[in-house]
Symmetry: C2
Subunit: 204 residues, 2 copies
């Protein structure tokens, strides 16, 4: 399997270069598990699917802790049939197996959110889940929305996406669970696009 993310960090500050560079060390704990490459538009993170959201959480939290309005945007993918298998992505920890009943997937995902570390950084987030190559993709999406409504960080449904609000630890855990437990099994192609915003002056 191949899994990873193209992520970008947008500090709304004249010092955006300094803030981005100063936050890169937050990715150091993930460098053994993940391959990381950067160009002028995004940073590629390739690694086990359960490592992607904690890495993005820590990178965004490091950039946001000074109070600057800071957005992380990411395209996350697993199981794309057009990508080569990569040993660094080995392990499907957290991806719900085919024979796990929906009710158990929901309760396991809720438990993972409850047990997520609290960061102290409030965020708003929105994301869309794309289970690909399946003719009943809306079923997975509706099940995921049901999970989110009980997650404690559900803000509201919007057109094309679901909006969350809460501590960054809980929010990233909830989006991670959506990706791992509701897109389909490890053989499926699942994509997710994510926006996480901290310190917005227009946050309510």
């Amino acid at each position: 399997m191949f899994s990873g993310a193209q992520l970008s960090l947008y500090p709304m500050s004249d010092d955006f270069v300094g803030i981005i560079i100063g936050s890169l060390s937050a990715l150091d704990p993930y460098r053994d598990a993940c391959r990381i490459e950067t160009d002028d538009v995004s940073t590629l993170l390739v690694g086990p699917p359960d490592q992607l959201f904690p890495a993005m959480r820590d990178f965004h939290a490091a950039a946001s802790q000074g109070g600057v309005h800071c957005v992380l945007s990411a395209t996350v993918s697993r199981g794309c049939p057009g990508e080569p298998d990569d040993p660094i992505c080995a392990g499907t920890d957290g991806i719900a197996a085919d024979d796990v009943p929906l009710a158990d997937r929901v309760s396991n995902a809720l438990k993972a959110v409850r047990e997520a570390p609290i960061t102290g950084q409030p965020v708003a987030a929105q994301f869309s889940l794309y289970p690909l190559g399946a003719d009943r993709h809306m079923g997975e999406i509706y099940a995921c929305i049901d999970f989110l409504k009980g997650s404690g960080v559900f803000d509201r449904s919007k057109h094309f996406c679901t909006k969350l609000r809460g501590d960054a630890g809980s929010v990233f855990a909830a989006v991670g669970q959506a990706f791992l437990a509701f897109g389909g099994t490890a053989e499926r192609h699942v994509a997710l696009d994510l926006t996480v915003s901290a310190n917005s002056p227009s946050a309510t």
Copy 2:
């Protein structure tokens, strides 16, 4: 049908609020055709699918023209079965019909990019196309990549996305054609996520 985008504009500047507010008038020509609503994370644009990319182009160009590093990020969707039909989205101009052969779709899309207005603003962009509810979604994606390689703005294939580079007029036209001509017919559910960057200090 329901079509639209959740878009966000990220000026990397202490004056991000002023730049965003100062660029909103670029959307005025689209206000008759589209419904526009804003919250703290994104702006919803609902309207005919062929209006979405010109509107985003003009909004991003207005924010970028002062030279600030400015990114537009968007989740674009058409035909989602979970969204209500909306009369404002009526019209399927530009969506390739079921009986148009692939070669004709490619040549029509290339013609649309050649005829797109030139803005004078260079950009880098990357995007992912998600044809949903189909068991052969990779076929549409590969056909779209073939089109992009001939479009004059193809930069390179990246993991999970395709990167473009060129004048904003041509780049937004190419992404718009990917959305309209390669995701499937007007009855299909197609999503696309898009990142467009101008004035990056690390652009090559």
